[in-house]
Symmetry: C2
């Protein structure tokens, strides 16, 4: 099985590549080769039982997508995206990468002669949904995004379904929850604090909380997100019918629930490192975000996330801290 | 007020132009000039109190949309489209006209310097909805189209909402019902029979009915469709919020209801000209179409259609037959 990962240098891309290198397979199928693509250099991959090549390319550039398909990958992970804040700040860049890049990939697949019909796993987002929100958002909620990023993802979902229906590719779109706990440095994105208030105290560092404890949002760990992608690459897509994008399962938690989970896992000392500094601008942005989903369809197809926020913290400790706390 | 009509040579475009020429105004605002654009020549316009110019151009070609905005139209009617059957048969043409052409127009508006923010009335379609259908489809039904045409319209609706939210234009999308009774020759489109079985008998000609009497669908007259466009151009768009496309009101009628309305209006002799010739292929296509909508949002904003199918037939007789039957 030949695998192509577009957006391989991002946080999720790196974790997916690491997982595939470790497994040596995708589901039951051994991987024979893997191509990694990103607009920035991809970090080196651990020794693994298959060939890996890495390319620094922009899929939105003419001809690039066609070139990437020269080896006829059986599975394509399309993770490349300009994130929400940047797509809002730079309209043209957002549309160029998130819409034109995705469409260029789908059109390049369509242009391949013969029976070629790869599985395309597309990383979408719950940003395809916009207010007014139900308290719990079902699978039949309309996609009326409130941001340019969400608009671009919703458009790509429509293309994915239409190109699948027309028989050009076999698409599965996964609408990812907010990934938490994100590894790495404290993030300035509006959603960054959800991770910061867990990660920083686990490292013995201070964290700032810009919103109130009642704020509720929708989370899954990086490990679950990678598992969503792997499952989307291997499931029997017949069961999806024409609607090829799925809201992924996750954990609905308030900030207060995050903090109490942190207390259970790492004690009062960790919690005391969180300081409240209300930020009206962030509070307003977060107020426009969904709080919980009923991801029944994905659940029925075998997608699984954590059960509670304690598990999400334990995944961070296992995957990023070698299983133990440094404090 | 300067008006631009893109797709002015189509059935709906011609009727809109005729209405605006007759009124000399759009709502309370006198029209000072009107530009007509289509890829085919537009028919001559009746004498009217404002300047009319007509251009044969393809909006999807580079630079054309920018050229059309040179006179800074206050209202743009975007009616240009490759229809459903053709968009399904010719994927590239459908995406080029229905997606790229629309996007080129929106981007050209965005590129204009200064305070320019025209009202853009976009003709969408109930084809943005796909099965499974509720018996009556509400305004919060998700847009999961089952055709490439519906996909392209759903994408254009997303762009319209995003570009409006970003302040580049003031968009209103109208999801038109199936237009009935269509004037002109019997139409080979899958939906053609809904009009044929009324129009042909009113002209004393035979008509073929390819489906059963129980088939139900969603209709409005050409006159109502023009009124939807005019109302969309003049309403206070603040009331729309971020979701800028609206399912238009219409009449939900079965084929049997159509036939009984024809009998009331034109007698048994007219009905006897309809002959049943079941066509499995057409029946299958029509089976994937919506049957009725609860167009509450549009109704609340002042959009009005006919009350029943008798009215739809009377509109045809008034507008196409000079008010009287030829039989």
């Amino acid at each position: 099985m030949r695998v192509l990962v577009i957006g391989a240098a991002g946080m999720l891309g790196q974790k997916l590549v690491e997982r595939l290198a470790r497994d040596g397979a995708l589901g039951q199928m051994p991987i024979s080769s893997m191509s990694l693509v990103d607009i920035v250099p991809t970090p080196p991959v651990r020794p693994c039982p298959f060939d890996v090549d890495a390319m620094q390319l922009d899929v939105a550039q003419p001809g690039v997508a066609r070139e990437l398909l020269a080896r006829r990958p059986d599975v394509i992970f399309d993770l490349a995206a300009v994130v929400s804040g940047e797509a809002e700040a730079d309209l043209e860049k957002g549309y160029r990468v998130n819409l034109d890049g995705t469409r260029a990939l789908f059109d390049a697949v369509r242009a391949v002669d013969g029976e070629y019909r790869p599985r395309v796993v597309f990383s979408s987002s719950v940003a395809v949904f916009g207010p007014p929100f139900a308290e719990v958002i079902g699978d039949d909620h309309p996609t009326t995004p409130a941001t340019s990023y969400g608009t671009q993802k919703a458009i790509a979902e429509l293309l994915l379904s239409d190109y699948t229906r027309r028989g050009f590719l076999d698409g599965v779109g996964v609408r990812l929850p907010t990934i938490c706990v994100r590894p790495g440095k404290a993030n300035l994105a509006a959603s960054g604090f959800f991770s910061n208030i867990i990660r920083e105290p686990l490292h013995g560092a201070q964290a700032v909380l810009p919103v109130g404890p009642e704020v509720r949002h929708w989370f899954a760990s990086p490990r679950s997100a990678v598992q969503f992608l792997v499952h989307a690459a291997t499931l029997d897509s017949q069961a999806l019918g024409h609607q090829r994008s799925l809201t992924m399962p996750g954990v609905s938690a308030t900030v207060a629930m995050e903090i109490e989970a942190l207390r259970r896992v790492a004690g009062d000392a960790a919690v005391s490192l969180i300081s409240s500094q209300p930020d009206e601008a962030i509070a307003r942005i977060v107020d426009g975000w969904p709080r919980a989903f009923d991801a029944r369809r994905a659940h029925g197809l075998g997608f699984r996330a954590e059960q509670d926020f304690d598990q999400i913290i334990h995944v961070y400790i296992e995957d990023e801290l070698g299983g133990g706390l440094n404090t």
